[in-house]
């Protein structure tokens, strides 16, 4: 998406030359891709943002596609949930930037914990407000934003690179200069999207998904359902603008087993099983094939449970 960094206007990215088969005859500006094609654009060593929050509206189908690829050595930026647990357990993360990792209804993420206690990756652990303003700084092409957070806490000790700024006005107050969280790519999951990359959330919370898209060089949106347009939509639900999006993937159930209300809630039974199952056993049963195989395996597991 070089047209963004050079300030070029008007391009909708119709000539990306991504070598996808079957793209002939698409309407101009059609950014639809498969999950595997999205991952095909990611490279080892990238800084990758992942939207959603804890076990809520995580782009899990894209994360699963990532697990099927060879992409590794990632710096992951996330308000972490099972996205971080899965990638950490699979050894794909070399560095993590996060204020927390949780499964919500299971407070601690066991696969993340195990990887962290093994020392599998390095960590930038920052406060939630620092995370929000770091994304906002990146989206605004600022090097940092001042935040009243972190000072007096060990966030300063465990992030020795953090600097403070002094207000240039009469108050002279000191703040943390929360550094911009600029990313090579971001993955988010929303309820609806059109083929050009506009995306709509229908749940109660946007989380930071639009900021992730704005703070990344390229963002990929997966959605529960592709739509032809948003006629009649409540305008405020149109969270993500196509100018921030490089690719759109239709993945019904693509947030599973995290929530994507109102399309579906969190799969609590599956989540508890995930939390209680050793990583290799979980991976063997649920991550051996493609997304269709995953869905079949989940359905079979639920059937076994008598649901």
């Amino acid at each position: 998406m070089s047209d963004r960094s050079t300030g070029g206007a008007g391009s909708t990215g119709g000539d990306r030359g991504d070598g996808l088969s079957g793209t002939g005859g698409r309407a101009p500006g059609d950014k639809t891709l498969t999950a595997d094609a999205v991952v095909g654009r990611l490279r080892s060593g990238m800084t990758l943002g992942i939207g959603g929050w804890g076990a809520r509206r995580k782009p899990m189908a894209l994360v699963r596609a990532l697990l099927r690829s060879e992409v590794t050595d990632l710096t992951v930026v996330s308000c972490g949930g099972p996205d971080v647990g899965l990638l950490a357990a699979a050894g794909r993360i070399s560095h993590l930037v996060t204020p927390f990792v949780t499964l919500d209804s299971v407070p601690l993420e066991p696969h993340y914990r195990a990887a962290r206690e093994r020392g599998d990756f390095t960590l930038t652990e920052i406060d939630e407000a620092m995370f929000l303003w770091g994304l906002t700084a990146a989206a605004n092409r600022l090097p940092f934003l001042p935040v009243r957070a972190g000072i007096g806490s060990d966030v300063m000790r465990i992030n020795p690179g953090l600097r403070t700024v002094t207000s240039p006005y009469a108050d002279g107050e000191e703040f943390v200069a929360s550094p911009a969280l600029r990313m090579d790519a971001a993955l988010v999951h929303l309820n609806r999207a059109d083929r050009r990359g506009n995306a709509q959330y229908l749940g109660p919370d946007p989380y930071f998904d639009d900021l992730f898209c704005e703070a990344a060089d390229t963002a990929y949106v997966s959605c529960e359902r592709l739509v032809d347009g948003f006629a009649g939509a409540v305008p405020q639900t149109l969270l993500v603008g196509r100018h921030t999006v490089g690719g759109v993937v239709e993945t019904p159930g693509g947030a599973h087993f995290t929530s994507c209300v109102p399309d579906h809630g969190r799969d609590e039974a599956f989540l508890r099983m995930y939390a209680a199952t050793p990583w290799d056993r979980f991976a063997e049963r649920f991550l051996h094939g493609d997304e269709d195989d995953y869905r079949s395996a989940v359905a079979a597991w639920h059937k076994e449970q008598g649901r």
């Binding site: 929050w53 972490g80 996060t98 204020p99 927390f100 990792v101 949780t102 407070p107 601690l108 993340y112 914990r113 962290r116 206690e117 020392g119 652990e125 920052i126 406060d127 939630e128 407000a129 620092m130 929000l132 935040v147 009243r148 957070a149 972190g150 000072i151 007096g152 806490s153 060990d154 966030v155 465990i158 403070t164 107050e173 000191e174 703040f175 749940g203 109660p204 919370d205 946007p206 989380y207 930071f208």
Partner: protein, 251 residues
């Protein structure tokens, strides 16, 4: 809320609910940020009775009234603005807390290679620098009340003082409610003090369960009794299934 008095004396969990509710007395038109079931019951009890101006959330992105009716929108990013604007009084959990009120929810052991990875610093640093903060500890023990926390997430009095005005300007640690009693910081150096005992608990029991020297006044009062209307609310309206007893470990 009137009617027949609730039957039976108050349980330990019910004293805890009362003690948490008292955290929001006089707080004004601010968001009650309860983390944990007992603080949530306390916040709703306060909203129903002596603090009708409190704001409550549904635990997701909505502001709701005492009976769940929607009155506003509070997604995470607006929640953070409310925190930094100071219009919130939160009761956080604590995996570890020390005598100056430093709190840890991140990890146990050395941060670089933790023995036990926990949640992460989450919003504790921003909370403690911007809005009034209390803590809820469902099981008072030396594992939680430690001489020094392994990682300062929530900023305590000594840490805030050492960091200077940037940390102390809006710093306001209120109290710690545990299953044994209520602790505050009403001492000259801002260290923890036993403010009240839940009925049935002794000073010795609290000292035994606390891993640092605790300031103890000559006379320690008991946590106040819930009145009949409050007990009815807790038992019949707010928590008819008695989930409150499950958050508090057996003694």
């Amino acid at each position: 809320m009137s009617g027949a008095p609730a039957h039976g004396p108050a349980s330990r969990a019910e004293y805890c609910v009362i003690a948490c509710a008292e955290t929001w007395r006089g707080a004004g038109e601010v968001l009650a940020g309860p983390m944990g079931l007992v603080p949530a019951l306390g916040a709703r009890l306060a909203r129903h009775t002596f603090a009708p101006e409190l704001l409550l959330t549904d635990g997701e992105a909505l502001l709701v009234g005492p009976d769940g009716e929607v009155e506003g929108w509070l997604p995470y990013r607006r929640h953070l603005t409310l925190v930094t604007g100071g219009r919130r009084l939160v009761m956080m959990g604590a995996s570890q807390i020390d005598r100056y009120g430093n709190q840890n929810i991140s990890c146990v052991g050395d941060w670089a290679r933790p023995r036990r990875q926990l949640l992460g610093v989450r919003g504790a640093p921003v909370n403690t620098l911007n809005n009034p903060v209390g803590y809820w500890v469902p099981r008072h023990s030396r594992r939680v009340f430690v001489p020094r926390v392994d990682l300062v997430c929530g900023v305590g009095h000594d840490s805030a003082r050492a960091a200077g005005p940037a940390a102390t300007r809006f710093h306001d640690l209120r109290r710690v409610v545990s299953d044994l009693g209520v602790l505050d910081f009403a001492t000259p150096d801002g260290s923890m003090r036993l403010a009240s005992l839940h009925p049935g608990v002794t000073v010795e029991q609290v000292r035994e369960a606390t891993g640092f020297p605790l300031a103890v006044p000559a006379e320690v009062p008991y946590t106040r009794e819930p009145d009949a209307a409050e007990l009815r609310l807790i038992r019949e309206v707010l928590d008819p299934d008695g989930l409150r007893d499950r958050e508090i470990g057996p003694r």
